[in-house]
């Protein structure tokens, strides 16, 4: 059984970039422990020599990639309509590094 604790939830929160509140960490820890315990069922299945499934309609299509050619593109002005902040045709975000560094 995997050791799953509040520290695990904190680690996961950092990995997936969500600033969880203390209360959320507690409640998610409680819920995920239960769900993961249920998922231990999978260890019952003998999967020796079984190839992982990565393409769904495998017998029908191998999901080919397209050629690397320029096609229809989203135009910049259309794209920027949804940007929370923009400047000079670019998406604007707060400083990545403090000035002077």
């Amino acid at each position: 059984m995997t050791r799953f604790s509040k520290e695990t939830v904190e680690h996961l929160g950092r990995l997936c970039r969500i600033a969880l509140s203390e209360e959320q960490k507690e409640s998610i820890c409680h819920d995920l422990k239960k769900i993961l315990a249920y998922m231990d069922l999978l260890s019952e299945v003998d999967t020796d020599g079984v190839k992982p499934c990565t393409t769904i309609a495998e017998a029908i299509t191998q999901a080919p990639l397209r050629d690397d050619t320029v096609g229809e593109m989203l135009q910049r002005d259309v794209f920027l309509k949804n940007a929370p902040q923009q400047f000079a045709g670019l998406v604007r975000v707060p400083e990545v590094m403090k000035s002077g560094e």
Partner: protein, 483 residues
């Protein structure tokens, strides 16, 4: 007018018996009358729909050829993009997001002159089985307003069940169209994975998502499948096949049809639902079907497999919601890191956070082999077991849902909510088409659906079998009292 099928509406419009503007006036009035107590819609396109109806009336007056959905109003789950309209995915994160392009299925519907009515409510980012996790409102089941319509495509199911639209689109990732169809007493079909294009859908779990229609009858589903079930070069998993002809091949007979039933797997059903299921099977036998027991004991592992793979894919797909390029950026964010961390904290609801964290966990270093890779192997075994079953049967029958509509707020345990999809998830894991057809009612008057599953690309045969069952059960097209 609300009792007419989509095909009948189109006929009446094309023949001149009804004007498109009359049709739209009628349905918009119905929506504004009934939706306050149903909460099916997040957005209603009054002006856009009226404008389209006016154009269609002109088109007909000029004798121009009319599309197969001319005059038919259609509601769309708010996870499917319509150019220049807001797509919220039921989330605070996207309250201000305007789609820069339309999904392929929207373009296909519009090419056939369908009239888009608006966007319907859903569980946030399609994560849920009750439409309770929507950031905006809870949708109510027209058969009992205290009850959930199911989810995640609950709003679309309510719209069709209450006859606010003859057709609606949802998405089915783990049962999110079939389960609400069952709980709302209408028809809902998930196609073969890759048969309908995912281009223009907001992705939840890319190897599971299928745009899927709701209708009041099987023939209308067949019509939609003929129009939207074809190759799309913008979806790399799109099946390279043109559309099937289905309507011409529908039969009322089940002579020669072998129905496979995984009896061991449905053993836990409560007596009322088991009796109802057995009755549905008897009806099929009366039309000539034979029944065979199939070994699908592996379905015991479906839920666990699904929640590993689906959450892994969802956590990856939802990483794009970072507050940078679109969506609601946190006003508290002073650094770039805070743009990510706070926008996501403020924008996502609890269920979404739970699943993103679970998905992150099963993909994380040290656990990927035990969970993610293991689940991918089990997924292959599940596909193989279904393929073995289809060697001795043409279609697999199960109930769609282990229970009828439940009271909103009554299921608080996430795991218990996940169990609502126990019979539908197998189809998404194996990429199989599945359809839920109204079969019966509980003693309290709540709908019960029968689910029929076929091999990949078997939609023509599957729909024919569903049509024959629909004729036999005589339950389709019952309208909730008061609507």
């Amino acid at each position: 007018m609300h009792t007419l099928s989509a095909r009948d509406l189109r006929e009446k419009f094309a023949s001149g018996a009804l004007k498109a503007q009359e049709i739209i006036d009628f349905f918009l009035t119905r929506i504004h009358t009934h939706d306050p107590k149903l909460n099916a819609f997040l957005a209603v396109y009054d002006d856009k729909a009226r404008k389209k109806a006016e154009e269609l009336d002109k088109k007909r007056a000029q004798g121009k050829p009319l599309g197969r959905l001319a005059g038919v109003p259609i509601a769309i789950k708010d996870i499917i993009n319509i150019k220049d309209e807001i797509t919220t995915c039921g989330s605070k994160f996207l309250t201000n997001f305007k789609a820069p392009f339309s999904a392929t299925i929207i373009e296909l519907l519009e090419q056939e002159d369908a009239i888009l009515l608006g966007k319907t409510n859903m569980d946030e980012f399609a994560m849920g089985s009750s439409t309770e996790t929507s950031a905006f409102k809870k949708s109510n089941n027209p058969w009992n307003l205290k009850c959930s319509p199911g989810g995640s495509s609950g709003g679309s199911a309510v719209a069709v069940a209450a006859r606010l639209a003859p057709i609606a689109f949802g998405t089915d990732t783990g049962g999110s169209v079939r389960q609400p169809a069952s709980l709302c007493g209408i028809v809902g079909m998930k196609p073969t994975y890759g048969r309908l294009s995912r281009y223009g859908l907001v992705a939840l779990s890319s190897s599971f998502d299928c745009p899927s229609p709701f209708a009041t009858n099987v023939k209308d589903i067949a019509l939609i499948q003929e129009i939207t079930g074809k190759y799309c070069e913008k979806d790399s998993n799109s099946i390279p096949k043109p559309a099937d002809e289905i309507l011409n091949g529908l039969s009322s007979s089940l002579q020669g049809v072998r129905v496979g039933i995984p009896y061991a797997f449905i053993n836990d059903l409560e007596p009322e639902y088991r009796t109802s299921f057995d009755r549905s099977i008897e009806l099929m036998k009366e039309r000539g079907a034979s029944v065979v027991d199939v070994d699908l004991s592996i379905l015991k592992y479906c839920l666990a497999t699904y929640y590993v793979l689906m959450t892994a894919e969802a956590s990856t797909n939802l990483a794009r919601f970072d507050g940078v390029r679109y969506g609601v950026r946190s006003e508290q964010a002073k650094t770039l890191d805070e743009v990510y961390d706070l926008s996501r904290q403020e924008g996502f609801g609890n269920e979404v956070k739970r699943r993103i964290l679970l998905g992150t966990f099963v993909l994380s270093s040290g656990y990927q082999d035990a969970y993610y890779k293991k689940a991918q192997k089990v997924r292959r075994l599940i596909m193989e077991k279904y393929a073995e079953a289809f060697k001795i049967c043409d279609v697999i029958a199960t109930p769609t849902s282990p229970f009828a509509a439940f009271e909103i707020g009554s299921i608080k345990d996430p795991l218990q909510m996940y169990l609502a999809d126990i019979y539908t998830i197998g189809n998404n894991l194996a990429g199989l088409p599945g359809i839920s057809v109204p079969a019966d009612f509980t003693h309290t008057g709540l709908p019960i659906g029968l689910q029929l599953t076929g091999p990949q690309l078997s939609e023509p045969k599957l729909l024919s079998i569903a049509y024959a069952f629909e004729e036999a059960s005589q339950v389709s097209n019952h309208i909730p009292p008061g609507f």
